[in-house]
């Protein structure tokens, strides 16, 4: 299983154990990164990672660490981030993350995994010495299956460094591991041959060629082994053996046309011309862009010539010439498509789908049928991926530039409306503040009064309007009576006191109801205060927001400028990458075109020769 799958499996398996205790926001953001990464949307995932890290550098690592079992050092989390970075083929950034794990105080298993990942990065960059150094950092006991992953990488590094014996020792052990079934043995066979142990290598390759398998990848590997053995037998002058091996290659696999070609030539070598007709004929029914098929177009009439059927040979040479000329025209069209850029338009439409299937879409295009071999090469596919990714970045950047322009327009509009709105908002805020102040005073006064009133004292606070008026009148009467003669004054004041007493008695009588009414008034006042405060907060927020609108102008301007800088870097880079891909394609097409010219020359010569031979036959008859 690929390490990425193992890593994600570990992530998800452990994620839920700690699920409950993780704070929701951080967990959701980390989960979103995983959601995107699991769909191989690595750029989007990295965007999220950077966005989360910019807000809280530790948040994502904390979440991923939590998801991976909460180990204190967090090396596993860093490795899973590095894995996403590798998915987007940012080996430098991933390498830095992995080196950080090696540098920090991580647990031994994580350090070992980091060293292994680093070794893989160096291996993929063809820096085999460094890959070896990275592997040497692995320490302590390492368990299955990780130990075999390390061994397999070690064997590949040994092969690249020419240390064949060391590689053979490892591969001999690994060939029995089901996870490397066939592949370890295939590599072992090649390593044995590279080490000069040709017979052992062939024997091992024969084992691969004879294995009973049902998986498509292994079936393809088996075909490849038989193809190699078949062609080796042909070049060694043992066509019978070649027939035996090539006959085991599947009729419709990726290696079928080359196998048919080999079978036909093996029959020719055995002078079994009639037997050769069947594979030649079968090849002629295959895709005319295939190099093996083109060879068959020439070989079939040649075989009829050998059989002395010159009239058939003449007809078939004429067909072959027409076919070759058609192919040459298609190649010219392909070269033109590369030159005018239309090929690249189709190529970038593949998007991230630079797989065999995706390339097959291109392959179906007539002009691209002659590039099948090149399109299938991993190095070429990497070059195409580079081109597509840079082109996608260019398109993405154009989208961002439109977003920035829209945001600039938005902030400008907001600034304009804010300029108009600000005085209004300020006035509104002032009004609310005044109203608020008045209400607070009212509320406080009522509060004080309510605290001070008891049934024994100050009950007149509870008097209603008519009682207040009555009490005020009685008070005026009492004051006015001071100027009267004593008899009248005393009588009046006595009556006034009696009436005040009645009011006081009434107030004491209604004390609970009045108090309840006042409390209710205070409550209403409190509610009004809260509403006014909410209104004030909303207006204050609008005010603050209005103040803040201008702060985005400079960052947006800076962002637009940096985007222009990136655009200036992307365009020439895209052109360089396109040029690199174009050169590879052009060279391949020119090679094929040259070969086709040779085929045409041979076909024309053989056509003329067979016409003569046919004429001789007719004369003889």
């Amino acid at each position: 299983m690929h390490l990425r799958s193992l890593l994600f499996f570990a992530l998800s398996a452990l994620a839920w154990q700690a699920h409950a205790s993780m704070d929701l926001k951080t967990r959701l953001l980390a989960g979103e990164v995983q959601f995107l990464a699991h769909q191989q949307k690595y750029f989007d995932a990295l965007q999220r990672i950077d966005a989360v890290q910019a807000i809280s550098p530790e948040a994502l690592r904390r979440a991923l660490r939590h998801n991976t079992g909460g180990n204190p050092a967090g090396g596993e989390a860093a490795l899973s981030l590095a894995d996403i970075e590798l998915g987007y083929r940012m080996s430098q950034r991933a390498g830095a993350a992995i080196r950080a794990v090696l540098n920090e105080d991580s647990a031994l298993p994580e350090r070992n995994r980091a060293a292994y990942e680093l070794a893989k990065i160096y291996y993929n960059k063809r820096q085999y010495e460094l890959a070896q150094y990275a592997l040497q950092l692995i320490r302590g006991e390492v368990f299955y299956p990780f130990n075999h992953d390390i061994d397999y990488l070690q064997a590949k590094i040994h092969v690249r460094r020419g240390q064949f014996d060391a590689a053979i020792n490892i591969l001999e052990r690994l060939q029995y591991d089901e996870r490397f079934q066939g592949f370890a043995a295939f590599n072992l066979a090649h390593t044995l041959m590279a080490a000069g142990r040709d017979d052992e290598g062939r024997a091992k390759l024969a084992e691969v060629g004879d294995m009973e398998v049902y998986d498509e990848a292994l079936l393809s590997l088996r075909d490849k082994a038989n193809l190699v053995l078949g062609y080796r037998a042909l070049s060694d002058g043992v066509p019978e053996q070649a027939l035996q091996r090539l006959g085991k290659v599947r009729q419709h696999g990726a290696f079928s046309t080359r196998a048919l070609l080999g079978i036909a030539w093996a029959h020719m070598a055995l002078q079994q011309y009639r037997s050769a007709l069947a594979p030649w004929g079968e090849l002629q029914r295959r895709d005319a862009g295939d190099a093996a098929v083109q060879e068959a177009w020439l070989a079939l009439p040649y075989t009829y010539g050998k059989l002395g059927v010159h009239s058939k040979a003449v007809t078939l040479y004429e067909k072959a010439i027409a076919q070759f000329e058609h192919s040459r025209a298609a190649m010219r069209a392909a070269l033109q498509g590369i030159g005018d850029g239309s090929f690249f338009e189709q190529l970038v439409e593949l998007g991230g789908n630079v797989s065999e299937q995706g390339l097959a879409t291109l392959y179906r295009l007539d002009s691209m049928r002659y590039l099948g071999d090149v399109l299938a090469q991993p190095a070429f596919q990497t070059a195409v991926k580079d081109l597509i990714e840079v082109d996608q970045l260019r398109a993405t950047l154009a989208g961002w530039q439109r977003s920035v322009a829209a945001l600039q327009a938005l902030t400008e509009r907001r600034e304009q409306s804010v300029r108009q709105l600000r005085p209004q908002l300020s006035a509104q805020l002032e009004d609310i503040d005044s109203a608020l102040q008045a209400l607070v005073q009212q509320h406080d006064a009522l509060d004080d009064a309510l605290t001070a009133i008891t049934p024994q004292t100050n009950t007149r606070w509870l008097a209603d309007a008519s009682q207040q008026t009555l009490l005020a009148s009685l008070h005026s009467v009492a004051v006015a009576s001071e100027t009267l003669p004593a008899v009248q004054r005393d009588s009046l004041q006595q009556r006034a006191r009696r009436l005040q007493g009645i009011v006081d008695w009434q107030l004491v009588q209604h004390y609970p109801q009045r108090m309840q009414s006042l409390s209710s008034q205070r409550q209403q006042l409190g509610e009004s205060l809260r509403q006014l405060q909410t209104q004030r907060d909303r207006v204050a927020r609008q005010h603050q927001h209005a103040d803040n609108v201008g702060v985005y102008r400079l960052p947006l301007f800076e962002l637009a400028r940096h985007m222009q800088v990136l655009e200036a870097r992307l365009l020439p880079l895209r052109d360089t990458l396109q040029q690199r891909v174009a050169n590879t394609l052009r060279e391949a097409l020119q090679r094929r075109s040259k070969l086709l010219d040779e085929y045409l020359a041979v076909a024309r010569y053989e056509l003329a020769k067979n016409y003569d031979l046919m004429a001789q036959q007719e004369r003889a008859q």
Binding site: F35, D50, Y88, L130, M563, L577
Partner: protein, 169 residues
Amino acid sequence: MRRVLLTFILLLPTALSHAESPPLDEQIQSVKQQALHLSERLSRIEQQLLYPDSTQINLFVSLAPDVGVTLQAVRVDIDGERVATHVYDANENLALRKGGVQRLYTGNLIPGRHAVQWQVQALDRDGGELRLRESLTLDKGDDAVFVEARIVADGPAQRGGVRIRLQRE
């Protein structure tokens, strides 16, 4: 010896970048890094301008690991108005099963009380159709809101044995 190796490896990036890596590959990685940096800055400004915390609402969907359903579609209404719909493909289901969390919607909501209603269509293990509904009353305050609709097992894993569990922050 190990310390020497480690030091050597840790010191490598500078040496690599100047001497041994293919320059074109470095250029590509560098523009990718620059693009990611700009993207982060853009999304920060976008978020502040378009979705300020005081009105921001984020809706997420996740699957509990043991639930065994295949999501088909989800729909969310806020105060009776549809704000998000999504139809799931196989890749998204796989990503959810592996522990990923889908951001379904980011938008704005005025402060106050709101009714959020989720409707999920899914297939159970036997291919039977499930229709799940769940509601949440949300008091939107000054902070950004994060709501997760998690499809969880509810009793035996059979038809009807799942439900939506809503969580908010």
